[in-house]
Every structure is written in structure tokens, then in C-alpha cells.
Amino acid sequence: MENYVIEMLNIRKEFPGIVANNNINLQVKNGEIHALLGENGAGKSTLMNVLFGLYQPEKGEIRVRGEKVKITDPNVANRLGIGMVHQHFMLVEPFTVAQNIILGSEPTKGGGFVDIKKAEKEIKELSDRYGLSVDPSAKVRDISVGMQQRAEILKTLYRGAEVIILDEPTAVLTPQEILELISIMRNLTKEGISIILITHKLKEIMEVCDRVTVIRKGEGIDTVNVKDTNVDDLAALMVGRQVNFKTEKTPANPKDPILTINNLQVKDSRQAMMVKGLNLDVRAGEIVGIAGIDGNGQSELIEAITGLRKSEAGEIKLNSKTITNLSPRKVTESGVAHIPQDRHKFGLVLDYPIAENIVLQTYYQKPFSKNKILSFKSIYKHAEKLIEDFDVRTPSPRTKARALSGGNQQKAIIAREVDRSPDLLIAAQPTRGLDVGAIETIHRRLIEERDKGRAVLLISFELDEVMNVSDRIAVMFDGQIVAEVKPEETNEQELGLLMAGSSKEKARQKAGDNK
């Protein structure tokens, strides 16, 4: 028989109301990268939380290296050499990287005094060994998402993990960071570590994984060898129907500019200049994708346009009327819609019903309220319509936003924003963390909006999204637009280089050589 390092057999996990896992089997071979694939809410995180001891299954058994085990809490998991990097990072923001890594198994000398020096040394060694570069003494709140993730991985290694679970690690990474992560994963497996990788990105699976287990709506569907399968079959397995990836779209016919930005300068909360004299315009009927590595001023740019952040200099015009430093409400009223990056922080009031979330910017207007009095009748009528049109999967418009899956939360936000028929639609990371099904719908929506003659500004760290959806790609680097390219005339490599700051020419011929 095979030597499996992890075996989860007939696992069943219920939550009040739903069965998140129903008789799921998962068998991970020693030293392999095993993918776990499924739609939003399919039950992947739950299954892994069971393996990591955060949840206790109602049924089923777990074997580690053949041994039947009971994983009652993360400590047990750690002792069994199982480590997990969670979908929502488990890092304490005001702590340093080192403090986060050692937390719970701190090296101490007399009087419980934490020997931070020793810890930082050990961490340095680990990160050199696996090529996970981190700054141990930096505070987590000050470092990039990529480094945060490397810190998370180090956390597991520091505890001597031999099996590492990565829950949607790439959802939050830039292309460069994804490449790094992939090579890291390879290093790890070389060192005999096994990896369970949860991702919605089929290409990644094809690239790094050995085998993949697909689950759908809490049921285990199948486990297949990656070399015996392909993207389309996987997608079909996962969603239960054929999915088409190449988002169909007719060429754009841009009209006159809607958004015009001249020499814009914006500082971040730490008073560092993040947008440095940026120029950009977006025309009616086109989708402009901003490609760039996280932290090159994208967030500040969006916040400046939407009035969430004050701009230091320069001008932002909408339909040739200036909207520089207007209040968010004024900006919204003048025809801008915004799908925010962080849907939980900005996009939704998680404790409000879906319906009330859907009128978040319009509640004070007729028909939703008349002279300051809310008309729940029309609010709910409206909500039901949008839920219908945008196929938001929710028990009822009265359900709290919190209880929806990220995918459906996102659909609700898009419904809200698009429905205001804005002149400019800003979509920041609109498909982050979503499954292919959801992604497909959302991309289709963006294109529909374009075809209705709206200007769409798409910010994404995912190159194929940018390339698939945009009509024009503006590359952002160090607070400026350093290049504009047409998707059909470029490739990921060139974009990658541009995003890394090399000039257009260089990038061209470099990319050219490699072709």
C-alpha cells in the first residue's frame, strides 16, 4: 500500500444549518504538493481546519503516517508536524515578524524572559535555508502581504512542520510573489515536506501540483493526477458544468474621456508620497486595467479618486468637471462607483442585512427614503430585484451579509455599484479569493458595463485577469504610469518586467528574446 503522510477518511463536519464536509476523503503522499480544489463555500477551509485541530469532525478518522490520531487542537497538529497558513492571515499586527513566528513556542531564558535575539538568529537560518526572505524585526503591520505570508510559512517551519497547509496563498499575491512562492514550495518539497495547497487558480495547480482532490458543496468528488488532467476538466469537476475561461468580448470602441487625471500626488497615512505626479485617462466604453505590484500606489490612487484620501497636488476630472478632494458622497453622486479591495472592511456592513447593504450609498435618496424616513418596502423590493439579476446566493434579502460566502458578498457589492449606472466604475481586485464560476460572472458583468458605454478602471494584481478583461493596460510603478500597452500586443513576461520598473524598450526585447 502507498505511504501516505496524511489520510482523512470519511470526514463529516456540520455547522448549524449546513453540512460543510460530508464523508470527504483526502490522502496526501509524502513529499507531494496536493491541491484541494472547490468553489467558494465548498468546504475546503473547513476540512483543513479539521486537520489542523481547529474544528472537531462529527465523523471520520485521521491518520498521520499510518497512525490513527485525534487532533484535538492546533498544539496536537503542531506536534504531529502539521502546520497551516490560513486564508486570512493569523498574524498579530503590532508584533514583529519574529514575535509572531515564535508566539506560543518562545525561546526563553531566566524569568520567562523571551530571548528574542536567539529567536531572530534561528529565523534567519530557516529563511536562508528555504529562501524565505523576511525582516524578523519589522512590525507585521509595516510589511508587504508577500512577506507576511513568508512569515506565516516560517511560523510552521519554526514549529518543525512536515506537512504544510496553504489556504488560498496566492489569492493575495502579486505575480512576482506567486513565482517566488512556487519556487519556495519546490524547495520545501525537496526538503521532504508535503504541501496541501488550496487555490481557485487552475493554472497554478497544473504548474506545481502532483495530485488534486476536488470537492463540491461539501462532497468529495474525485482525486486525480495532475498530469492526467487539464484545466477544463478540473473546472468542470469543480463547478459541475463546463466553464469557459477566455472571457468573450468584442473589441472596445472608446468614446470621449470620462476620467482624466493630471499630475496627481497622494501621500499615504504615514505621510510618504505614494502617487507621484500620475497621469491617466479612461474613456467611455473601455476597460483600462492597471497592472502593478502591490504597494506602488494603487490603493492611494483609488482612494484619492473616490474622495477617501486627500490628494496633495494635481487634478482629477470626471466628465471634465473637477472632483479633486470632493467628499466621498459628492464623488459618488457625480457618477463614480467603486468596488473596494477589502470587501469586509469597506464594502459591507457585515451586520446589516443584504438589502440594507445594497442601498449603502443611496439610502437617503428617493425612493428608498422620503424626507429622512426609510421606505423598507422599496428597499427590499429593489434588493430582491438585484439579488435576482446578479444571482446573489442568499437565503433571503434579510440575511446578514456576514453569513454569505465571499463570492456572494462580492456579487452583492457589484450589483450595488453597477446598478447605479455610474459613468466611471472602479473595480479593485474584484475577483480576489473567488472561484472560477464567480470570476466568470463578474468579468462578464464588467464587460457588459463597458458595452453600455461606461468607463471601467480595473485594478488587479492578477495578470491574466488584467490581460483577459482590459482593453488597455496601464502599468503602474512607483506612483506613476510607466507604460501603456494593448493586451493583444503584450505577454505576461513583458508586463512582469514593466511592473518591476524596467523601461518599455528593455522589457520588449527581453521578453522578445525569451520567445
Binding site: 490560513h86 498574524l91 508584533f95 506560543g104 513556542s105 526563553t108 520567562g112 523571551v114
Partner: protein, 319 residues
């Protein structure tokens, strides 16, 4: 120079006034750093004061000069046990922590006075015969100026309070225990996934806050009121809570805040001695401490961020 003299004269007041606040505020810091809001400090002080006094009265003949020290201990233990209620409600039963804090406050006063009536047959106890006394520290008190200001005519409890504050800082910021405790208050789920027992940490923190608030209450009773009644602890717990926030949830910050309050309070008393204040209505001096605090907050202190998870019960597997 009158100012200097007055200033020197003030210090002993500042020292005895602040001590109970320091202890109690430290309790608040520990509790809230672990993510458990504790507005029950007032009630915990009541329990500390009550049990300290009662113990003192009944054992003075037995323990003589040791009585106040033992009373202090008893007050701390009693309040520590009492704080278990808050822990059970807030940690195990996911209570709204403000509510259970309010309950603690009401229960403490009710119980304290009820028992006083049962034991003494009236609303307040006798005066204790074995209180703490101010002492001047050998040698140190001989240092010019400094000696007079800090080392003559202060209670040992005050020095203990200061030491405990420094200790608190060390524990919270230098030890593994402290790292875990703060982690639990900032991001309990992260702590949990690192194998830290959130519930246990929070229980410890809350009980610690009880012990410290008990020390605070007992200190007040054994150094200032020397007897217990329903009105003995009237607002000190809330002042301590203010000190916690004023001090930005940092042990040394709380220490500073407590001294600030003591200082402002004494200033309002000593103010009467200054000619130039002689014809200012006493009322202005009376409110001065509170106005000063508000101004200080608005001016220098400004924004303070509570521990992220402060007030949220931790429920495994929810986000």
C-alpha cells in the same frame, strides 16, 4: 521659594492618593490587554476594601503589626476570587463584557453593605486599629529635597505599587507570558492557531485584574478610610479605568496617569495656600483635577487605540 515648598509638601499626598489607583489601573491593563473589558474594577475594589477591613478588625489582636499586610493579602485574594464571576461570564459564556462588569459593580456594593449589616449590625464597620502608617525610608529619606519629596512620609504600599507597575511592564513586554497575553487581546484566533489556550490566558488575566484591583481597594481602606461603608469606594474604580485608557493600556502609562490624577487632586487642595488663588472661588479648584485631565487628553495624549480584540468574546472558528 513658596512654589518649591508647596511642591515638596504635595508629594506625600500624591503618593498616598495614587497608590490605590495604580494597583487598580494595572489590573485594568492586564484584563484589557487580554481582550476582556473590565469596568468592574470599582466593584473589585469594593470587595478588596471590605474584606481587608473586616479581616483587619477581627484579627488585629492576633497578628498585631502584621495585620495590615495580611489584610492586604486577604483583600487581594477575595477580589481575585470575586473576579472569577467576570471571567466565567466574559470568557466562558461570551457575555457582553460591559454588562457583566456593571453586574460586578452592583453586586459588590450590595454584597459588601449587606454583609456589613449582618456582621456589624449597621451600615459601616468600626475603625481599624491596625492600619498602615507612613514611614520614612532609612538613608534615602536623608537625601536633600528628593528625600523629603519621595522617601519621607510615604506608605510602603505606594512603593510596592510602583514596583508592581514596573513588574507589570516587564511581564507584559519582556516575557513569553506577556507576549501570549497581548496576542490573545489583539488577535485571539492567531494565538489559538499558535496553540495558545485563549480561554486560559483570559481567565488568568481577569483574575490578575481582580487581585490587583483588590489590592487597590484594600490599600485605600487600610491607608485612607480605615473603615468600610457603602460609600468608601465611590468612583475610584472609574478613575482607575480612566487611568488605564489615559495610560494607553500600558502599565507605565497607567502609572503615570494615576500620578497625574493624584497630582491634580493635591494641587486642588494645596491651591488654597497660594495668595494669588486666595480669592478664586473654591469651586474652580474643586473641578480643576477633572478639567486638567480633559485638557491633557485633548492636548498631549490624543488618540489611543485599545487592544484590537478588546471586548469581543472569542468564539472558535468564527471570523
Amino acid at each position: 521659594m513658596q512654589f518649591i515648598d508647596q511642591f515638596i509638601a504635595m508629594m506625600p499626598m500624591v503618593l498616598f492618593y495614587s497608590a490605590p489607583l495604580i494597583f487598580t489601573a494595572l489590573g485594568g491593563v492586564f484584563s484589557e490587554r487580554s481582550g476582556v473589558v473590565n469596568i468592574g474594577l470599582e466593584g473589585l475594589m469594593v470587595i478588596g476594601a471590605f474584606s481587608g477591613i473586616v479581616f483587619n478588625i477581627f484579627t488585629a489582636d492576633i497578628f498585631g503589626a502584621f495585620t495590615p499586610w495580611l489584610s492586604l493579602l486577604v483583600g487581594a485574594v477575595a477580589a481575585g476570587i470575586f473576579s472569577l464571576m467576570h471571567a466565567v461570564a466574559a470568557v466562558s459564556f461570551r457575555a457582553n463584557q460591559v454588562v457583566s462588569g456593571v453586574a460586578i459593580n452592583m453586586l459588590a456594593v450590595g454584597l459588601g453593605v449587606f454583609l456589613t449589616r449582618e456582621i456589624f449590625g449597621r451600615g459601616q464597620t468600626d475603625s481599624i486599629t491596625q492600619p498602615f502608617y507612613t514611614r520614612s525610608v532609612p538613608i534615602l529619606s536623608d537625601i536633600p529635597v528628593i528625600g523629603d519629596m519621595f522617601f519621607s512620609g510615604a506608605y510602603y504600599t505606594t512603593y510596592i505599587a510602583i514596583i508592581v507597575a514596573v513588574l507589570g511592564w516587564y511581564v507584559l513586554y519582556k516575557t513569553a507570558f506577556g507576549l501570549r497575553l497581548r496576542a490573545v487581546g489583539e488577535h485571539p484566533m492567531a494565538a489559538d492557531t499558535n496553540g495558545i489556550n485563549v480561554t486560559r490566558m483570559r481567565y488568568i488575566a481577569v483574575i490578575l485584574s481582580g487581585v490587583l484591583a483588590g489590592l487597590g481597594g484594600a490599600t485605600y481602606a487600610l491607608t485612607i478610610s480605615l473603615s468600610f461603608a457603602g460609600s468608601t469606594i465611590s468612583g475610584q474604580g472609574f478613575m482607575a479605568l480612566a487611568a488605564v485608557i489615559f495610560g494607553k493600556w500600558h502599565p507605565l502609562g497607567a502609572l503615570g496617569a494615576a500620578f497625574f490624577f493624584g497630582f491634580a487632586q493635591s494641587l486642588s487642595v494645596v491651591g488654597a495656600n497660594f495668595e494669588f488663588l486666595a480669592n478664586v472661588p473654591g469651586f474652580y479648584l474643586t473641578i480643576a483635577p477633572y478639567v486638567l485631565t480633559v485638557l491633557a487628553l485633548a492636548g498631549l495624549i490624543g488618540r489611543a487605540d485599545a487592544p484590537k480584540a478588546n471586548g469581543d468574546p472569542y468564539i472558535k472558528g468564527s471570523r
